[in-house]
Symmetry: C2
Subunit: 317 residues, 2 copies
């Protein structure tokens, strides 16, 4: 038997046929439209991807144990409904019901960060742990929590939004898309890092960051890290502060969950030990009751580009 994992994003809907060990046997994608309506639901496009996967993998739906779908935004996973999504502009779409018209297999829907956490737990760097705090540092900050081997979603699947934990109540803290100011997301996302890098570049016209950004063609989440690695002082300052923000939110979550492991995913996680080493020592020293409480390991996530498909597929298991 196989699993189908569908990764819905702002740009594309990716789909893959996955075996029980987490190997992707075939994958494909189609672009996401910006004009889904009651008449043309996103479920129609998801159906297209599933058909393409079955066709491309020369497999029949009867060989499929279930379909898992990862979706940005707020999802009612019990009922298989998208509550709403900002970046694809969806409201109250009963995806599971709509797809059941075409496919007579179990269909699971969940938030993309929850899927990624579950994917790491089942197939990736989280194997063997029972309690995981997963964070993905990308356009936003997404969190997913595994408690005692189970995905924790909050009541009615409406929690687990650790990115929207305010870590700076000061009046001048940056606005967050959620309506509050000073959220972890507004400090620790790649978007926030780019803002912090740009601000530092304005203050330090002789920083190496200018040269690096010119070569890259833009300021990105890598600019400050690359400069810091080449000894640039202003770049190092940006990186130190940014890692401090990541650590602040992670310590908050460690004090609440006391996980076996923290797994860091998303674009920023490609910095590997350069990122995890300072976070690990801060977690060792600064978590509540550090001298008495159990060790918490800090690692990067391992599924990388396929995290979306594998995480969605893991919903079926």
């Amino acid at each position: 038997m196989y699993l189908i994992g569908i990764d819905v994003g702002g740009m594309s809907i990716k789909g893959g046929l996955v075996d029980m060990s987490g190997n992707i046997l075939y994958k494909t994608s189609i672009p996401t439209t910006e004009k889904y309506t009651a008449e043309y639901s996103i479920s129609e496009d998801i159906k297209k991807v599933i058909d393409l996967v079955l066709e491309g993998a020369k497999t029949d739906i009867k060989q499929v144990k279930g379909i898992g779908i990862g979706q940005p935004g707020s999802v009612d996973s019990k009922r298989g409904i998208i509550r709403y999504s900002n970046n694809i502009s969806l409201e109250r779409v009963p995806v599971a019901d709509e797809l059941h018209k075409y496919f007579d297999v179990p269909i699971y829907l969940n938030n993309d960060a929850n899927c990624a956490a579950l994917g790491e737990y089942v197939f990736g760097a989280g194997k063997g742990y029972k309690d995981i705090v997963f964070v993905t540092l990308g356009t936003g900050v997404g969190t997913g929590f595994i408690i005692d081997g189970k995905l924790f979603e909050g009541r009615d699947c409406a929690g687990a939004e650790g990115g929207h934990m305010v870590i700076n109540t000061s009046a001048d803290s940056p606005r967050c898309n959620c309506g509050r100011s000073g959220c972890w997301e507004a400090y620790a996302s790649a978007t926030a890092l780019i803002r912090q890098t740009t601000e530092a570049m304005q203050k330090h016209p002789d920083s190496l960051m200018h040269k690096i950004a010119k070569e890259e063609g833009k300021v990105s989440g890598k600019t400050a890290f690359a400069a810091a690695k080449q000894g640039d002082k202003a770049g190092q300052e940006v990186v130190d502060k940014y890692i401090g923000y990541i650590t602040c939110g992670l310590l908050n979550l460690v004090n609440i969950f006391c996980p076996d492991a923290i797994l860091i995913g998303g674009g920023i996680s490609y910095e590997k030990e350069y990122l995890t080493a300072p976070i690990q020592s801060a977690v060792n020293e600064k978590r509540f009751g550090a001298a008495f409480n159990p060790y918490v390991e800090v690692k990067t996530a391992s599924l990388k580009n396929d995290a979306g498909i594998l995480g969605a597929a893991a919903l079926v298991l």
Copy 2:
């Protein structure tokens, strides 16, 4: 059958005989010593209180279903061990084992905030809810979480320390006892309110807070609230800011847990609607996905002075 609840505090060890409906049939207490040693363990004093309760209630240990003990600090509830406690200065005390030498009934030990959360859930304002965020605003900020009808303690009972969630990363934020700066506890505890009140009084020599503090004999957690209720502008500012800090941490926890209800206990909770009304409207408006996600009720805890004994007794159930 009855329950025995023991509430260990910095000043006293309280104990009570409790029936299955949460009525305290008899209670007593002895002072806490500051000099517990390997030779004279705190378990000896807990034993004394249990003996006094049995004697005073004219009951036999055979009528007791179990003994629950609530203890400040870090507790290994699975093994019945106090990991450490700052305010009574204890380290690695195997309380359950030590007491089992005297009492042949189940003995449960847990952190006092966890006990208080459980007590509210079983006997108090939390009855009928399945997911609760409980916070006690006293000397510190303690939190307890009920998830799907069960006490959530984090891995190895070392989590649930929501008071040690940093809500202000700014360099000038107040130090917390846990070693970090800007923790929720450093802003939202009664101790923090007293500091905030004192600072405002220095800035506003004509504020009503001076008169109220003089009448009370000290600046307390009530001073600013009393002044605000009498129309004092500076007092109102202190209260508004302080309630803002409480709300900030609660919203963070709502976004993670999405509970049915937030229950607020501790000395500050005696302000009732004056405290809960503004928090309720902030939670209504500012929680993540407010337009789509389920309602979260804000209430004060109901067990008041007996919360410690009843919460500890609830561990047995």
